[in-house]
Structure formats: structure tokens, C-alpha cells
């Protein structure tokens, strides 16, 4: 009985890992294809976070002994990746990196004018 | 019975304690440092008496060497440690003259400089020697730049660059030795040095020699000396000449005699020493700035010590050790006096110091120190030079002896010029009386110089053990 459960968990784990690698692939394609810094940063963080998270969950499901460790790692990634990205984006905005000419919103600029 | 490890552990204890005391009283920290160095000097004196009976081994952590670290104190190591701590005590009194903030940090760096130099002398483990070399040199870097002016930063920067290259070479040498012998204990290395691959052996020796040569102010590696001495606060210049330099040259002696008992390679050391003597003395003659002159003179004296080690006979090595003691005492005295003269004349130039030493409290010790460094007979410096000369004579190094004498004459010439200027009659009104923090260390050092010059028997008794040291003992 337990063996069957393990096999099912392993299959689910591999599905998770496949999804994760797919997202990581998309992220790396986006890194090349996107027009400006901010868009590239978005692919590099959003898609990568999701990809890395599902890879970690998949690993945890394949070998349950690893699950707590991989969950802790997942929490750290959730906490750090967006912070890093936002700090980088803000720094490059302050440094005067221009937005892509096709951009439609610039919320940060509006907010600054309100100050 | 005194354990040698106390000489290292107690300064560390006081250094770690001083920030806590510094919160309440900054003055208290300075007196704590004086107390710590006095305690250390006393302990070192007792240790010397013990080491005269038989070499003291202090096993640390309870593991037999070479598993753990062992401190190895022979009579020669003990007397160098004693002199280092004695001079450190004298300088720590003069430290009271330093007013610049942050004074607590200054005191800690100074105490750890003393601790590092003592440790370099006492340790019997090669890697431990490297650790203490690092402690000494990093404390020196911090202290060399302590004045926070352009001169200080320049000297400290040069010292940092050359010193870290030297430390890297020491580390490379240690790695080479460990890779071949799988041990770090000096006596263990000495016992099995013959089994090393000859090329690796030469490379390891060269690396260690160059690395410790930086601290010992050997010729091509001493460009940091004048700038660092010139830019550092006055007590620190005195300390540089007597603590790290002596520890470095003692480490050099350990490398040459205790670990690699080379006999056919020593001409190289003699040549390096001679080059150092010549470079130091001749450049010192051209200097107009007092502290720079003393710094170059210090290079010359260190060259004499290295030469004495290189000649390698019992007499010459005895002379080298005598010279180490005399130079540590004399140069510390001269640098303290120089600090006072610069303060009194408000200038570092020798010409501006006309008649500044006409106060007996400063003049008599200054005269004694200068005569001792010049090598005049009734003072301590005489025996060192004399023994080195005799040792060279017996080995047949006649050309080298002639050059050595020529360099000594140059030395006498510029010291005589300096003495003539500072004792000249003239502006008596500008002469100021030194305060206690200046003249007490001067008098202490001068008395010791006179005593061991007039009655050298105790020192010579200790130096009898040079024979065992050369043969590779503790």
C-alpha cells in the first residue's frame, strides 16, 4: 500500500519538476527577448520564482525526507527574490535607466509627483 | 614556575578587557596597559631564569607535539622575549603622551603588538609563528596609520602591501613544508628536513626567508621602513624598531638554525645582510629628517644582525643576539628622544633642533643611546659589533669585514653630526623641560644600556647557549 503512495508521490513530484523547468525555460527566453531592464527583471523574478518553487516542491515530494528542507528553501526564495528585484528596479530607475518606449504606465513617476 | 603561555594569554585578556573598562574611564585603560606590560616583563624575567636551567616546553591543549601546538622557550628566546617586554613597558609609559582619539583602540592595538611579537619569539610551531606574524603585522598596520595624516597613510599603505606579500610568502613556504613532511612542529621538521625533495626545500627556505625578511627589514624588502617609521606616532616608531623587527629577525634565526640547518647556503644570508647594512647606513647619512635618519639607521643595524646570523659561527651569532638586545634598547631610547625633540622644535628637521637636548634629563640618555648605537666601548652596542667582527674574522670574510667597518664609520659620522647639532650652544630660551612620561622611560632604558654595557656578564652567560641554538636546539 505504502509503496503505491510513494510511487504516486514520485510521479506528482516529477510533474512538478517538469512544470518548474518549463517556467525556468520561459524565464530564460524572456530574459533574451524582453526589450528593457524592467521587463527583463520581471521575467527573471516572477517566472523564476515560480519555476524554482515548483522544482523544490517536486524534490520534496520525490524524497519526503527532503520536504522540510525544501520548504524552508522555498520560503527563503519567496522572501528574497521579490525584495531583490524591487530594490534593483528602484535603483535602476533612480539611476536614470529609461523605460521601453512602448510602456504604458509609470506608477513610480506618478507617486513621486504626489510627494 | 611560570608557564610561557601566560605571556600571551594575559595580554590577550587585558586587551579584550580594555573596551569594557574604556566605557567608564579612558585614563584607566592607559594605566591598565602599563600594568599589563610591566606584569609581562616580570613574568618574562622569571621565565628567563627558568629557561636557563633547561628549555621550557609548554604543551597547549594537552596534545603532545606535533599533534597540538607547543611553545618552545630556550634561553635565547627567553632573553629576547624579556627585552621585548621590557622595552614595551618603557614605551607604554611614553604612550601617555599620545592624546589623539580613539585612545582605547590605540592601547589595545599596542598591547596586541607586544603580544604578537612575544608570541613570535616563544612559539615552537611553524603555523603558530605565521599566526603571530599576522597579529604583529596587522597591529602594526593599524598603528602606522594612527596619526591619520598623509604621511601616516602613505607609510601604512606601503607597509600593508609589502607586509601582505611577505605573509603570503610565509604561507607558501609553510604549505610546501607541510606537503612534504606532514608536520608543523619546528623540531619535528628539523628532525626530518633531510627527507625533503631538495628543490622544494630550497623553495620553502627562500619563501620563509623572504617573508620574515619583511619584518626583519632586509634589503630589497625594506622600502616601507622609512615611511612607516616617519608617519607613525612617536611611541610607535620606537616600538617598531624594537618589537616586530626583533621578533622577525628571531624568526629568521629560527628558520635558519632550528629548522633548516643549512651550512652551505649561509653566504647568501651574509650578502643580504651586507647589502642591508650598506643601503641603510649610506641613505641614513643623506637624511635631513630625524625620524627618517633613525629609521635608515635601524635598517643598517638590522643588516648587521642578519650578517651576524649569516656568518654562523658561535661568536658571530652571539654578537648578533647581543646586537639585537642593544639595538632594541638603544633605538627605542633614540626614538623616544626624537619624539621629544620633534615636539620641542616643532619640526622634524635636524637643523631646527639646535641645542634642544641641553636639558640633562633628555641630553644624558640621548647621548648614552647614540653612543651605544654607534658601538662605543663602555655601552651595550659595542659587544655586538665586536663579536660579529671577530666572528667574521675567524671565518676569513676579510673583504666583508672591511666593508662592515666602512659602514660603521659612516654611521658614527652621521650620529656625531646629529649630536653636535642637538647639543650646540645657542637658543637656550627655547629649551623646554620634558615631563615625566618622557624622561622616565628614557632613564629606564639608559640605565639598562649602561648596566649591560659595563657589566655584560649576565647577558654573556645567557648567550653561552648560542652553541646549542645553532646546533638546532631550543
Amino acid at each position: 500500500m505504502t509503496a503505491v503512495v510513494y510511487i504516486i508521490l514520485e510521479i506528482i513530484g516529477y510533474i512538478f519538476i517538469s512544470i518548474g523547468t518549463f517556467f525556468l525555460l520561459l524565464a530564460s527566453i524572456g530574459l533574451i527577448r524582453m526589450p528593457d531592464v524592467y521587463n527583463r527583471m520581471q521575467t527573471a523574478t516572477k517566472a523564476t520564482t515560480l519555476g524554482a518553487l515548483s522544482v523544490l516542491v517536486g524534490i520534496g515530494l520525490i524524497d519526503l525526507w527532503w520536504l522540510p528542507k525544501s520548504l524552508i528553501l522555498a520560503i527563503f526564495i519567496v522572501l528574497t527574490a521579490p525584495i531583490g528585484a524591487s530594490a534593483l528596479a528602484r535603483a535602476s530607475y533612480k539611476h536614470g535607466v529609461k523605460l521601453w518606449k512602448g510602456s504604458v504606465v509609470d506608477k513610480y513617476k506618478d507617486e513621486k509627483e504626489e510627494d | 614556575m611560570i608557564r610561557p603561555v601566560l605571556l600571551i594569554a594575559l595580554p590577550l585578556f587585558f586587551a579584550f578587557l580594555s573596551p569594557i573598562i574604556g566605557i567608564w574611564s579612558k585614563k584607566g585603560v592607559r594605566y591598565l596597559i602599563i600594568f599589563a606590560t610591566a606584569l609581562n616583563a616580570t613574568l618574562a624575567g622569571i621565565l628567563l631564569l627558568e629557561a636557563l636551567q633547561k628549555p621550557v616546553f609548554d604543551i597547549i591543549g594537552g596534545f603532545q607535539p606535533p599533534l597540538g601546538i607547543v611553545l618552545m622557550v630556550g634561553p635565547l628566546g627567553a632573553i629576547i622575549a624579556f627585552i621585548i617586554n621590557l622595552v614595551a613597558f618603557a614605551i607604554s609609559i611614553y604612550n601617555l603622551k599620545v592624546e589623539k582619539e580613539p585612545i582605547v583602540r590605540y592601547s589595545m592595538l599596542y598591547l596586541l603588538l607586544v603580544m604578537g611579537s612575544t608570541g613570535m619569539v616563544l612559539t615552537g610551531d611553524l603555523f603558530n609563528l605565521f599566526v603571530f606574524l599576522e597579529v604583529t603585522s596587522i597591529a602594526s598596520y593599524g598603528l602606522a596609520a594612527y596619526n591619520k595624516d598623509k604621511k601616516g597613510y602613505l607609510g601604512a599603505m606601503k607597509y600593508v602591501i609589502i607586509g601582505s606579500i611577505g605573509s603570503t610568502f610565509v604561507l607558501l613556504g609553510i604549505a610546501l613544508i607541510y606537503s612534504q613532511l606532514r608536520t608543523l612542529n619546528m623540531l619535528d621538521i628539523a628532525a626530518r628536513i633531510g627527507t625533503m625533495d631538495p628543490y622544494v626545500k630550497i623553495m620553502a627556505f627562500t619563501s620563509l626567508f623572504l617573508g620574515f625578511g619583511v619584518e626583519a627589514e632586509m634589503f630589497p624588502l625594506n622600502t616601507w621602513v622609512p615611511d612607516a617609521y616617519d608617519g607613525a606616532p612617536h611611541p610607535i616608531s620606537a616600538a617598531f624598531a624594537s618589537l616586530p623587527a626583533k621578533a622577525g629577525v628571531f624568526a629568521l634565526a629560527r628558520v635558519i638554525f632550528t629548522m633548516f640547518s643549512f651550512t652551505n647556503f649561509l653566504w647568501f644570508v651574509v650578502v643580504m645582510g651586507l647589502l642591508t647594512v650598506f643601503f641603510g647606513e649610506i641613505v641614513a647619512y643623506t637624511q635631513k629628517d630625524l625620524k627618517r635618519m633613525l629609521a635608515y639607521s635601524s635598517i643598517g643595524q638590522m643588516g648587521m644582525i642578519i650578517m651576524g646570523l649569516g656568518i654562523g659561527t658561535t661568536l658571530a651569532v652571539e654578537g648578533a643576539f647581543y646586537q639585537m638586545i642593544a639595538h632594541a634598547l638603544g633605538k627605542a631610547l633614540l626614538f623616544i628622544a626624537a619624539g621629544f625633540l620633534i615636539y620641542a622644535a616643532r619640526s622634524g628637521k635636524i637643523e631646527d633642533m639646535k641645542g634642544m637636548a641641553r636639558n640633562p634629563l633628555i641630553g644624558i640618555p640621548l647621548l648614552i643611546g647614540a653612543l651605544s648605537i654607534m658601538g662605543m666601548p663602555p655601552f651595550a652596542g659595542f659587544y655586538g659589533k665586536f663579536f660579529i667582527l671577530m666572528g667574521g674574522f675567524s671565518q676569513g670574510y676579510y673583504a666583508i669585514i672591511a666593508l662592515f667597518l666602512a659602514a660603521s664609520i659612516v654611521e658614527v659620522a652621521y650620529y656625531a653630526r646629529f649630536i653636535k647639532i642637538v647639543f650646540e650652544r645657542g637658543n637656550e630660551s627655547k629649551v623646554i623641560r620634558p615631563d615625566a612620561a618622557t624622561y622616565v622611560p628614557l632613564i629606564i632604558l639608559a640605565i639598562i644600556i649602561v648596566v649591560i654595557g659595563v657589566y655584560p656578564k649576565p647577558i654573556l652567560t645567557v648567550l653561552q647557549h648560542v652553541g646549542t641554538f645553532i646546533a638546532g636546539g631550543a
Partner: protein, 242 residues
């Protein structure tokens, strides 16, 4: 010209040392190493030094992590020296960067995401650093990496809150207390057994947290010390702004 000379010199030194370093055995069997010789008792042992460490290390020190056993117990005196080196570095930086009446530049605040995020992360990173140095005798790691991790947590705070400022007095007090602990542990060993830094506490069962005698105690002291020293260095470097 100068550059060419420098490159030639560098290549020359490289070749000379490479010729020596190729003679270092790499991946050799440990049984072929030379046997060690005890200079005090004048005996040659029947094994080499690394072999002794690996064979008897657990019995001698009680630590499961052999690197820790060597770093803190066999060669603990070197570690005391290395801790002092770091202490000196932080003291030296502090004395050189010392300015009376620090004038702080007007700094822009960082954004809300960074502020909240680093506040959340700070505790976790401190916890991780503490884990590394408390488990130093069981798992890879120890006082130095643990202290560095703690200092990087403070670095994060410095980056997120430009106005954040660790109290220098507190840092130096924690640093001194940690250093004093190390020295006092050594002195107690000297009093009890006659050897400085002697491992005087019972070893306990291997692989348990409370084992290996004084090693965890020393590693906690080193961790606190390294953490506060590196934080002090970062703080002094941050402090100089006009």
C-alpha cells in the same frame, strides 16, 4: 614597459613555484605519508599526522566534525590567534575611520518592500547563523562562517534602513565578552589540568548537541565575536559620510 616587466616577473614566479607545487602529492593514499616524531619524548610514531587525526580525533576531542576538532581543539591556540587577527582588523578599521561628531548624509528611504522584507528576513538569517555556529562540532560550519552570516544579516539592515546604526559600545562590549570567554576557558584549562585550552568538560555522547566538552562553548564565543567584529567593520565603513 613597466607592465611587460611585471607580467614577466609574475610568470617567472609562477613557474618557479609551480615546479615546487607539482611535487605536492594530490589524492595520495594516507598510509604513504611520513610518520611523525615527538620531539619531547623523542619517539617516532607508527602513523602520520593526518592519519592520527582521523583515527583518534573522535576519542581525543569528542567532536564529530574533524575540521572542528582540529581547528578548535588540536590547534585551538592558532584559532585564538586568528580571532585576535580579526579583532585587530576591526579595531584598526575603527580607529582609522574614527570621526568625532559623525555627520550623516541626508539619505533617501528605501521602499516599503525592501524594508518589510529585510525586517522579516533578519530574524531568519540570525537564526541560521546561530545554527551554524552552535552545531559547529557536528556539521560543517562553525564560528567563523556563522559569525559572517550574522554580520550579513546586519549588512542587510544597513542596506534597507539607511538610518540604521548599531551602537558601537554594545558591539565592542559583546566582542570583548566573547573574547574574554575564549581566554578564560583557556585559563580554566590551565588551572584544572595544567594545559592552556585543555578540554576540561566531559565529552558526552558523540553526535549529540551537548558533547565535545568546551568546543561548542568556544564556537559560540567565536561566532558572537566574529559577528560583532564584522558588523563593526561594516558600521565603520558606513559611518564616513559627509
Amino acid at each position: 614597459m613597466k607592465k611587460a616587466l611585471a607580467i614577466v616577473l609574475a610568470i617567472l614566479i609562477f613557474i618557479v613555484f609551480a615546479l615546487a607545487f607539482v611535487k605536492i602529492p594530490f589524492g595520495e593514499k594516507m598510509s604513504t605519508y611520513p610518520h611523525y616524531y615527538n620531539p619531547i619524548t623523542n619517539q617516532t610514531s607508527n602513523m602520520s599526522l593526518p592519519q592520527h587525526y582521523l583515527t583518534y580525533g573522535k576519542n581525543d576531542t569528542g567532536a564529530t566534525n574533524m575540521v572542528t576538532a582540529i581547528v578548535v581543539d588540536y590547534r585551538g591556540f592558532d584559532t585564538l590567534g586568528e580571532v585576535t587577527v580579526l579583532f585587530l582588523a576591526s579595531t584598526g578599521v575603527g580607529s582609522l575611520m574614527y570621526v568625532e561628531n559623525k555627520v550623516k548624509k541626508k539619505v533617501r528611504r528605501s521602499n516599503a518592500v525592501v524594508e518589510t522584507g529585510s525586517k522579516l528576513l533578519f530574524g531568519f538569517i540570525i537564526l541560521f547563523g546561530a545554527y551554524i555556529f552552535i552545531h559547529g562540532h557536528l556539521t560543517p560550519g562553525g564560528g567563523f562562517p556563522g559569525g559572517a552570516v550574522i554580520a550579513s544579516a546586519f549588512l542587510l539592515l544597513y542596506l534597507a534602513y539607511p538610518k540604521f546604526h548599531a551602537k558601537h559600545e554594545k558591539l565592542s562590549v559583546s566582542e570583548s565578552i566573547a573574547g574574554l570567554t575564549f581566554v578564560i576557558v583557556g585559563l580554566i584549562g590551565l588551572i584544572i589540568a595544567g594545559y592552556f585550552l585543555y578540554n576540561f568538560l566531559p565529552f558526552g555522547l558523540p553526535t549529540y548537541l551537548f558533547s565535545a566538552g568546551v568546543i561548542p562553548l568556544i564556537y559560540v564565543a567565536i561566532g558572537v565575536k566574529v559577528g560583532s567584529e564584522l558588523t563593526a567593520i561594516v558600521d565603520s565603513m558606513m559611518g564616513v559620510r559627509e
